[in-house]
Symmetry: C2
């Protein structure tokens, strides 16, 4: 971009946001995405258990909080992801998971609270699982779809950063799923 | 990038890194940049005071720890920045500060420990200062040079993320400086 273009579009101002590093609360968040149990139809093995959960009040599954910046290359999108604890049948609550629309873009998750896994997969069949707990930073490289799973008793909260141009592609995961799932077996979290 | 190119260059594997969210310690860091007082010649108003500091043992001024990823678009560089407390004459210790080589790239600083300021400036003369303390996230937008200043009694530690293609341009700051500086005046930090 040359100087004339800059002058035309303007240079945005710096800003600061407070984040509670113990809880992940970000009181200044302007966007608040909520996914309830009813948004998760088709994602769990036990569809009947999910239907019961929806009938019993359709609880919030996970939330994303952000202070938006322009979705452009060179910017950095960031958010707080908050996944609540629970099971659908024997399967731990999880996020839908997504590729980035521009697949060749990474994402960083810095876990602030809770325990779980980041499940990841590539379109050509590779799969990975990284444990998450407070202070663990997971690097999701370019081309890896990613989904978090809460295996603990409290919210799984992460501070996330990704390139401004990345975008979200949920559709491919809705049809492909992930090769790995995380179940509660005899009181333990087991990846199968 | 098409599939054939991907197969040729390979898709990197996910990984995790532990960060102590109280201290910023990242034991798995592979790169460790150290800037001592002697690296800061020309940056402070009181050159004689800096020379005395160098003569008295040339203490570490700041350190950067990182687990490197490829410096390419779509990747996210991240690091722990640790700026020690002190004054050179009446001026609080600070980092050199830099633009990004690709100027139109942002950076995120999530402060984990300490107190201070992020000083920022644009090439066309705008200036800004954002306070930093534990839990404060500062968004440095594209085109803003940035320098941190430690005004407290303990290390100022931040978790930083920036786009893989950004690069560092220290030269322009070495010649231009910043329009604002932070001094200790009657026991208080004052921006002048």
């Amino acid at each position: 971009m040359n100087k004339n273009t800059e002058a035309a579009v303007g240079i945005m101002n710096p800003f600061g946001v407070d984040i509670d590093l113990a809880t992940g609360d970000m009181p200044g968040a302007k966007n608040h995405l909520v996914r309830r149990a009813s948004d998760m139809r088709g994602y769990y093995v036990d569809a009947a258990a999910l239907t019961r959960l929806i009938d019993q009040g359709d609880p919030v599954h996970y939330e994303v909080f952000e202070v938006p910046v322009p979705e452009q290359g060179g910017q950095l999108m960031y958010c707080i992801s908050r996944l609540l604890p629970g099971v659908v049948g024997d399967e731990f609550w999880m996020t839908k998971g997504h590729y980035h629309t521009i697949s060749a873009t990474a994402e960083i998750y810095l876990c602030l609270r809770g325990t779980g896994y980041m499940l990841m997969k590539t379109a050509d069949g590779r799969s990975a699982a990284e444990p998450m707990s407070r202070g663990r930073m997971v690097y999701v490289p370019p081309h890896w779809a990613h989904r978090s799973v809460n295996t603990g008793g409290e919210p799984l909260v992460s501070f996330c950063v990704y390139p401004g141009e990345a975008g979200h592609n949920y559709g491919d995961i809705a049809t492909e799923g992930f090769p790995q799932r995380v179940f509660l077996r005899n009181g333990r979290a087991v990846i199968e």
